[in-house]
């Protein structure tokens, strides 16, 4: 009985730590989403070279994939949000990308206040 209680305790602790451990990746994904929006916004205004835009989109996408792949709880609400963000086209509308950033920011705030 004691052994099972201990195992349950460890599992619960691990579950509790999972989302907290993912906090850095949620922050990363939020930041990348916001930066992607900034890049697309400036690109739409013609203030960036095509080469720079394509390059930045590629690197930001790579960063997002890394963050998504590092999640301990990929099937969580925030995991789904990040996967949906990854599915966006490279020239996604800045407003749409900022919506993702806002959603992830709210999840961040929930974890930080927990």
């Amino acid at each position: 009985m004691r052994r099972w209680s201990l195992l349950l305790f460890v599992l619960l602790t691990a579950c509790g730590q999972g989302p907290q451990a993912d906090l850095q990746y949620i922050k990363q994904a939020r930041s990348i989403s916001a930066e992607w929006a900034l890049v697309n916004e400036q690109a739409n205004r013609g203030r960036l070279t095509i080469t720079y835009v394509q390059s930045m989109r590629g690197w930001l996408h790579d960063g997002l994939e890394t963050a998504s792949g590092s999640l301990s709880q990929p099937h969580s609400r925030y995991g789904a949000e990040i996967r949906a963000l990854l599915a966006e086209p490279p020239d996604a509308a800045p407003a749409e990308l900022r919506r993702y950033a806002e959603a992830l920011k709210q999840i961040e705030a929930e974890f930080e206040s927990a």
């Binding site: 990363q28 930041s31 900034l38 203030r47 960063g63």
Partner: protein, 411 residues
């Protein structure tokens, strides 16, 4: 003192101040904490000015570079430990710089990253092979002055100037949670490390010998250290301040070096972007050259080999083979696929751990009347030197715990 030479020396120091670590940490610091870390840049710059001036003075008066005399001061065993630690630190830093240059080239040209890494390394080797020391230093330093676009962009981005001025006052922002406080501490330590990288002192002192400095160049050394590094630091602070204005409100924590270029693109469009990328390219390439040569200087000076790029490559054979092999080793690190940002983090961490070992012998040497005669440390330099030695020692002790507690500053 030749005014043209002095001006060129100062401008070279300005253009050569920023490297990939400062670029990355300045941008992150600004977006995360606004102007609150400006004072740390200013504070660290005074530290690097003090130690650079000391190392230049030792070179000019004792006519021996820092690492030669470091072995004499520390002895063989501790000297070897310092040498190995600084080789590792400088090698990782060099790899980060090479990766950074290749990334910037990718932003400029769209060329694939890994072939760019190889091309950059070959180009850097070729530039040191072909050009004598003075022109290697000047080429990268003066072309790094494209970075001035960040200072101009700051004006165009309309910061709250009184808030920016307030950032120069030592402070810790109010209302931070424990985790945010630790992250602030980590950024402060990282900035101290990035500004006071050991390679800068080794390169500066060896450069003084390469240029044939003597006691009559003491004033040149002083002016180059103070004005060159002081003005160069303003470029790094511009990147931080721009980040606070542009990225902070947009919820962006810049994750890649290319993000910094947006700071100039937003007010100035494509030309601002291109100038920023060119400035970053030459500044970071210059840093790659400096880190590699600093390592080669350290090894050659420790073992008493012929050294220097004021000689032709075949006149200092072991030194030549050493810097080429070091570039190849740095290239090897980058080709393993490790992320440039990870390399930057490790470079900053390793460097802060090595800093006390670097600066202690320098302090002792520059305060030794037997070597320095009447050019020994004055009261102000001595006080500042020991103060900053204590600062880097404390920073070295807390760096690793802060890194792990804050997940490398990511909270």
């Amino acid at each position: 003192m030749n005014p043209l030479e002095l001006t060129l020396g100062i401008m070279t120091a300005v253009g050569g101040f920023v490297d990939i670590s400062e670029l990355v940490f300045a941008a992150k610091a600004g977006s995360t904490f606004g102007f609150a870390l400006v004072w740390v840049f200013a504070f660290s710059t005074v530290g690097i000015i003090v130690f650079s001036e000391m190392s230049g003075r030792v070179a000019a008066v004792a006519k021996q570079p820092v690492f030669s005399l470091m072995r004499h001061r520390l002895g063989l065993k501790l000297g070897l430990i310092t040498l190995i630690a600084s080789i590792i630190s400088n090698l990782i830093t060099c790899a980060a710089e090479i990766g950074g240059v290749a990334l910037i080239l990718n932003y400029l040209t769209g060329g694939p990253y890994l072939p760019m890494v190889i091309a950059v390394t070959v180009a850097l080797i070729a530039s040191i092979w072909v050009l004598p020391f003075k022109w290697v230093e000047r080429a990268y330093g003066l072309l790094g002055l494209f970075m001035v676009v960040f200072a101009v962009a700051l004006v165009a981005n309309h910061p709250q100037w009184h808030q920016l001025a307030g950032g120069f006052v030592p402070q810790v922002p109010d209302g931070l949670s424990t985790k945010e406080l630790l992250t602030f501490g980590y950024f402060a330590v990282a900035i101290v490390s990035a500004v006071m990288f050991p390679y800068e002192v080794y390169f500066y002192s060896s450069g003084g010998i390469e240029e044939g400095w003597s006691p009559k160049d003491i004033l040149t050394n002083r002016l180059t250290s103070i004005l060159g590094m002081g003005l160069g630091s303003l470029l790094a602070i511009s990147i931080l301040a721009n980040s606070a204005v542009v990225f902070g409100p947009a919820n962006v924590n810049p994750e890649i070096p290319g993000s910094a270029a947006l700071e100039a693109a937003i007010p100035f469009g494509k030309w601002g972007l291109i100038l920023a990328l060119l400035g970053m390219f030459f500044a970071v390439a210059g840093a790659a050259v400096e880190t590699c040569l600093a390592n080669a200087y350290s090894i050659a000076q420790f073992f008493g080999w012929k050294w220097g790029r004021h000689k032709k490559p075949w006149e200092a054979p072991r030194f030549t083979v050493t810097w080429i092999l070091l570039f190849v080793a740095a290239l090897g690190i980058v080709l393993t696929g490790v992320d440039v940002m990870t390399l930057v983090e490790f470079a900053v961490l390793f460097s802060i751990l090595v800093l006390p070992l670097t600066y202690l012998p320098l302090l002792l040497l520059s305060g030794d009347r037997a070597f320095m005669g009447r050019y020994i440390n004055g009261a102000i330099t001595k006080t500042l030197g020991w103060f900053y030695f204590c600062v880097v020692t404390v920073a070295a002790m807390v760096a690793l715990p802060l890194y792990f507690l804050t997940s490398g500053g990511n909270g």
